[in-house]
Symmetry: C2
Subunit: 441 residues, 2 copies
């Protein structure tokens, strides 16, 4: 039996420093759990001088990542550099050398996950990626182990802290997106270029990973429908409140049992959810994932979705898990994709046009008699049934909002109706559509 487990870190940035700190500070605790010492023996980073607040013994730090990959004392490689090319080379190189890998790289896994899963299986090594979704929240384990007995019926994830911070502030203060974004950038909660977060891409990466694990299916990332929060206005937030909803950027997945063939939905977009639902009150940079299983019903996991130590916590939990496997010669005991490799099956991802949902539609109209009847007429022709209408503050001759909540309707029909309505002369700007999750009453 191995007398110690060696860890090699590639990427000594925020998350890398967090993982290193935990491995040092909680070394005794980790040894008591694992049975042998778990030691950080190599760290590779381009910058070997900056102080990360972690004491690194001499000889450990190097600029040459090959020194990590080639070191026989390294059993587990932590890929924490992010990005695609080098990260993938590090992961595949480590695996080829018989080393297990832990990564927080959701973008890489979302796009190249299948290739990496396959490499892990082929080389008989473990791949840990708890840190790739929800920071320190143990959601990957919930999907692969804790809820493994369940057919996952749906997933609702607040999985991007920046977007949630911005929407929370907009909701609380009534300010506009740009204003809150600027403030979030000053406070360090949003990047200088926030596109990745506010456009929904980051959430989609995480959703793709969860879908892959929940349903045992490869996911073609490009097929996910993704819409960000940049077009959400204080007006929509105020209306949402009036209807008893909160607007959140959600990653949503649903399992659709078919007569012929099962399908899944997987989409990221701003969503109105009932204000009393357990994830509606998840504010600020916190993340939360609601998983609905056919046996367990709804389970919600909540915590810090980012940050040096929370994400480092997930990284080191994977290290402990893999160390336990190494000591029992049981690498690959839980396949990285959670289903046995030969048991994974491509499920059809339903295109967004084919989904059904409740819809919030905000029309900006020139206030004059007959407008509502024309809008309602087009919706009716498309078979879309209205559950309520809000038309406040009449100002004849001026532009005013008309808000309509629909019963369950087909996205295809809603889009067709909006195309027709938005061409009408009394419509002053493109209509705002926000999908609503909740019960059709």
């Amino acid at each position: 039996m191995k007398r110690r487990i060696g860890v090699g870190l590639v990427g000594f940035g925020t998350v890398g420093a967090g993982a290193a700190k935990i491995l040092q500070q909680n070394a005794l605790l980790i040894q008591r759990r694992v049975g042998v010492p778990v030691e950080l023996v190599r760290i590779a980073d381009l910058d070997v001088t900056r102080d990360r607040g972690v004491a690194v013994p001499p000889g450990v730090l190097t600029t040459d990542l090959r020194q990590v990959l080639d070191d026989p004392a390294v059993d587990i490689v932590l890929e924490l550099i992010g990005g695609y090319d080098t990260a993938k080379r590090v992961i595949l190189g480590a695996m080829a050398g018989g080393k297990s890998v832990v990564t927080a790289n959701k973008a890489l896994l979302a796009v190249h996950g299948e290739e990496i899963f396959e490499a892990a299986a082929r080389h008989g090594v473990d791949l840990g990626f708890e840190a790739s979704v929800g920071g320190g929240i143990p959601v990957i384990r919930a999907l692969t182990e804790g809820l493994a007995a369940n057919t996952v019926l749906s997933i609702y994830g607040i999985i991007n802290g920046t977007s949630n911070y911005i929407l929370s502030r907009m909701t609380k203060e009534g300010h506009g997106f740009q204003e809150v974004l600027a403030e979030a950038q000053r406070a360090g909660y949003a990047e200088a270029d926030p596109t990745f977060d506010v456009a929904g891409t980051d959430s989609a990466h995480k959703l793709a990973i969860m879908v892959s694990l929940a349903y045992g299916t490869p996911v073609n990332f490009k097929d996910l429908f993704v819409e960000g929060i940049t077009r959400i206005t204080p007006l929509d937030i105020a209306y949402a409140k009036e209807f008893g909803y909160t607007i959140k950027l959600l990653g949503i997945a649903k399992f659709l049992r078919g007569d012929q063939e099962d399908e899944i939905e997987a989409r990221v977009h701003p969503t109105m959810i009932p204000a009393n639902s357990p994830i509606a009150r998840v504010d600020g940079v916190y993340n939360a994932i609601q998983l609905v299983g056919d046996a367990v019903n709804d389970v919600v996991l909540y915590g810090q979705g980012a940050g040096s130590l929370p994400t480092g916590s997930a990284v080191v939990s994977d290290v402990i898990d893999i160390a336990r496997n190494l000591l029992r010669d049981a690498s690959g005991r839980v396949p990285p994709a959670s289903f046995q490799r030969e048991q994974r099956r491509p499920l059809r991802l339903r295109p967004i046009e084919d989904i059904t949902s409740l819809y919030y539609l905000r029309f900006m109209v020139l206030d004059r008699p007959g407008v509502l009847s024309q809008i309602a007429g087009v919706l009716g022709q498309q078979g879309i049934s209205i559950s309520s209408v809000l038309q406040k503050g009449r100002k004849e001759g001026q532009t005013v909002p008309v808000v309509i909540m629909t019963h369950t309707a087909a996205e295809r029909h809603v889009q067709a109706a909006l195309r027709e309505i938005d061409r009408m002369a009394f419509i002053s700007e493109p209509t705002t559509l926000i999908r609503v999750e909740g019960h059709d009453e």
Copy 2:
């Protein structure tokens, strides 16, 4: 490699039927995850005639539990009868026969956990007990794996659905304990004899298990401080609201880093928590556990803490976990107590008199001048500092409540002060003390 995993069930009650249903309905899913079929081959129960809504093949059901324990086709025994004596015999008997065990029996584990953990280690088998705390919520895995890299600083658990249902209804409707209890009994949310739930015993069992896993320490169950919810009144709930708090029955554990020796606190009692804290809004029969780790900060797990299928979900997740170990000859890969056996260390459990807390004190006094000054005087002598006083509805000569919130104070001093105050002539009933979790401001 094994071609299938055989499961034997002892106790075909609510949870047993849930587990059986899941093993049947999701058989294909489970096989896709594990790699081989997982089959329920034996079920023992005294009642072999009642319909549990599960189709049982002929020859599977027996009244003789030895037929489960002795069947070589049974790899994993599910002990779901509850109680102490027979349950323990089943578990130890199964282990002695080289079978792994899954149980939902929190009472047994809280009281005889050490002996059972030891037997699992000695026989080289696995013990799964995810279902023992929080029903379908994967909190055991969070403690043993997901947050394994953390020193757990504290645990706050709403871990008894009956008590939480009663407190939630009392809070919502302003009714008294007895009235709501009777209603909960009619609705099937409380047992005919609810003592176990409302007196805090069930919560304490679950807390003892979590403490054992979080800190790698044996727990002497009798040392836990346990106080139930029977004395909570609508008046206290109303005052709590006024101060911005909600009253929940919590299982609380804290890690206290000592100069000489680390200690832990572990206690169950009604607790005022800030109304905006993530677990304050957990209502009805839902459970939630907030874990605070030194790296991950706070993580909250929320879900259904009881019920046939939710608890069955946890049982079967353990079956899958153990099956994965059996197929890799890696039983005992995660020690049942989460720490390596030789690495467990008794931590001193701090007696309740030695804790410090914020306190809510409700004095029922004969309204006359000078009363508050006398109460404050005694508190002051004991070094207890007052943060606020509420004395509403003056009715000279009648009994009125005087409510005092303290700054952080020593339980010992508070108890001493109450002993003295409760002897005073103007005090008309024993003073109500509710511990408050929150920041001392």
